[in-house]
């Protein structure tokens, strides 16, 4: 579990029911929360304190959420910002991300998802995620290029290591077989999709007992999942 102690976030939401619920839930999850109910109030809060993250509604009284975000980025502030909004067209998303948002969550959302994404944002902002990945009992360090199961190091060939890294980076999503073959071809010549199957087969055996399994989805690719 990521450490949230001492993290302070700014919640900007003009709907009292939703704002109050998010504030309570975030506090329960261990965050310190300030709540602003309009754009101007939010800018004043941002000027007065260096928050670790901001949850921002777009349709705000007095000053639009996107304007608050643009002003913030103009001042050079880099804190992660997640937009909470009812607008969900592709153009809306693009506009939000262009204004400097890091994530975009559509209302109504599940609280669990909000908190999970908030934690991910904070992790990324503190530069942890990219080098060290931990799933089940499996640890992976992409800088040292080492994998271990619990304390015991996992012996993998260079190509097996590469395949595992791709799968880990796509954890929770389906990785196409062609995508893996393409990546391997980058530094080795002519790796066919059949070869990919061989590496997956070997990896699967080596990952037994790690709590992590590679699932094959017919016609779609592979999915790394945590065993229950």
């Amino acid at each position: 579990m990521c450490q949230t102690f001492g993290m302070k976030i700014l919640l900007v939401e003009d709907d009292p029911t939703l704002g109050e619920a998010v504030m309570l839930a975030a506090r329960q999850a261990g965050f310190a929360v300030d709540w602003s109910q309009d754009g101007v109030q939010a800018e004043n809060a941002l000027a007065g304190y260096a928050y670790d993250a901001m949850l921002l509604d777009l349709g705000l009284p007095r000053r639009e959420g996107l304007q608050v975000l643009r002003n913030l980025r103009k001042r050079g502030a880099t804190l992660p910002v997640m937009i909470l909004t009812a607008r969900d067209t592709v153009e809306d998303r693009v506009r939000g991300l262009d204004a400097g948002a890091d994530d975009y969550l559509l209302k109504p959302f599940a609280l669990d998802e909000l908190l999970a994404r908030l934690r991910a944002l904070l992790r990324r902002a503190h530069g942890v995620a990219d080098t060290q990945i931990r799933i089940g009992r499996l640890n992976f360090d992409s800088v040292k290029r080492q994998a271990s199961m619990g304390e015991a190091p996992l012996v993998l060939s260079a190509r097996e290591m590469e395949v595992l890294e791709i799968l880990l980076h796509h954890a929770g999503r389906v990785t196409a077989k062609e995508a893996i073959a393409d990546r391997l071809t980058g530094w080795d010549d002519g790796v066919g999709e059949n070869a990919v199957e061989v590496y997956i087969h070997r990896l699967r055996r080596k990952l037994e007992g790690s709590g992590v399994a590679i699932r094959t989805l017919r016609g779609l690719g592979y999915l790394l999942e945590t065993e229950r």
Binding site: L18, A21, V22, A25, A86, R87, T89, A110, V174, L217
Partner: protein, 460 residues
């Protein structure tokens, strides 16, 4: 049918033209008849006069008596004709008929004939109309003073035959001209109305929701005001439709924040509630708001599909790639629910014409349905063929009984309670399929188990 006939432009034009032509035609006929009679009479009268003079030349006075020296050949000539009856007579000044017919039509009473004068007049002989030339011949050397009367007459058969022919020679071309004009009008109206029937074909081929203006190129100028009116009506209609779907979208939008409020409150309270009853109630509230959120989302999509109707641009897409991408997106969620998802390609290349965003929405709804109502496996298949691409979404769930399959496309129709669907998924699927000219159908799976939803696209 009757009304249609009455309103036929072609018919109206022809009837009006003929109505105008008919009196003109009768007038022309009369003019032709009388003028040809006039000229023919003039010519025939001249010949009648010549013969009268020739006969007069034969009259001599011998010993105070009038004598006519008429050779047989000349007499024959005066009597014989193929068609008409010829007759003549010579009357001495004392009223005695010297030669020829005794019973001549009487001279017109009003104008007494002077010596040396020749007149031509109409009369009746033996019940037939005749034309007679009369010459008053002055005689010298007779005891009787005055003039002898030389008359030559003929019936009118040839005159009237010729007059009739001359009239026909004028009237028949005129008649032909009129008929030609009628045919030309009938044909011309057909040709002239060709743009109208082309326009009708184009309008009847329209999709129900296509409210784009009718293109004006190639339409006759006479139709412009009419088309302008239609276009302005279409414009107002599409504005109204747009306003309505914008209203639905706005309403759905506005609902999102309060729903998020309720759901988040319920979930937050659920985490801290101690009492079991409260927990149960909060869980119910959270689930209901989730369903409500789902419904609002689908209403928004429907409104967006409606709005896309007029601005839709279909482009060439790889139907297999679209399906695979959506399948990859949904696979983790399916696995989390214990449902295995697979994808398969059959046949050749799977090109189709479509809007990628809408097609993804359609597939997402089909997969969502299979996840809600289906069993433990979802098989996605794309079949490429000459006749077009077919997408199949098959599950091994309970399926839908045949009699109910048509009804599930109706908005808000749901098969079973408690699965939390909005009842709009298949409505969205069908609307999007319709925009692509594709056909959606539901069938039982292999061996009669499960459900297979198929979307059949037209060839790209």
């Amino acid at each position: 049918m009757n009304r249609e006939k009455r309103q036929s432009l072609r018919r109206q034009l022809i009837v009006r033209m003929l109505a105008m032509m008919l009196p003109l035609f009768i007038l022309l006929w009369a003019i032709a008849y009388f003028s040809s009679q006039y000229f023919i009479n003039a010519a025939f009268d001249r010949s009648l006069m010549r013969r009268t003079f020739a006969l007069a030349d034969r009259v001599e006075v011998l010993h105070g008596r009038i004598q006519v020296d008429l050779p047989v050949a000349a007499r024959e000539l005066l009597v014989f004709d193929q068609e008409d009856l010829l007759f003549h007579s010579i009357t001495s000044p004392d009223g005695r008929v010297v030669e020829g017919e005794r019973d001549m039509p009487r001279l017109p009473a009003r104008k007494p004939i002077r010596p040396g004068q020749l007149i031509v007049y109409d009369g009746v002989k033996d019940g037939a109309k005749v034309r007679v030339a009369a010459f008053a011949l002055s005689l010298k050397g007779t005891s009787a003073s005055g003039a002898a009367l030389v008359q030559v007459g003929e019936t009118l058969t040839r005159r009237s035959v010729l007059a009739g022919r001359a009239t026909l020679a004028i009237v028949i071309p005129m008649l032909l001209m009129t008929l030609t004009a009628a045919v030309a009008i009938a044909f011309g109206v057909g040709r002239g109305l060709e743009p109208v029937s082309r326009l009708r074909d184009r309008l009847s081929a329209r999709q129900a929701f296509d409210l784009s203006p009718v293109p004006l190129e190639g339409t006759p100028a006479e139709l412009r005001p009419f088309l302008d009116e239609i276009n302005s009506l279409l414009q107002r209609l599409s504005e109204a439709v747009e306003a309505q779907s914008r209203f639905v979208a706005d309403a759905a939008h506005q609902l999102r924040t309060p729903i998020a409020g309720i759901r988040t409150q319920a979930e937050a309270a659920l985490a801290s509630a101690r009492h079991e009853d409260a927990q149960h109630a909060l869980a119910r509230i959270a689930r209901s708001t989730q369903t409500m959120g789902d419904l609002v989302q689908k209403l928004l999509i429907l409104a967006r599909v409606d709005a896309a109707e007029n601005t839709l641009r279909l482009i060439r897409l790889d139907g297999a790639a679209v399906m695979r991408a959506v399948a990859r997106e949904w696979a983790p969620q399916a696995l989390a629910k214990g449902v295995e998802m697979g994808f398969e390609m059959k046949g050749g290349e799977a090109w189709l014409r479509g809007d990628a965003q809408l097609l993804r929405e359609m597939l997402a709804n089909l997969i969502d349905n299979a996840l809600r109502y289906g069993g433990t496996r979802i098989a996605l298949t794309v079949c490429g063929s000459e006749q077009g691409v077919t997408w199949l979404v098959a599950d091994n769930g309970p399926g839908i009984p045949e009699p109910q399959r048509a009804a599930v496309f109706a908005p808000f129709h749901r098969l079973s309670a408690g699965v939390g669907g909005a009842g709009l998924g298949l409505t969205i699927v069908q609307r999007i399929a319709h925009l692509h000219g594709a056909a959606v159908s539901l069938e039982a799976g292999k061996g009669g188990t499960g459900l297979v939803a198929s979307v059949k696209f037209p060839p790209a």
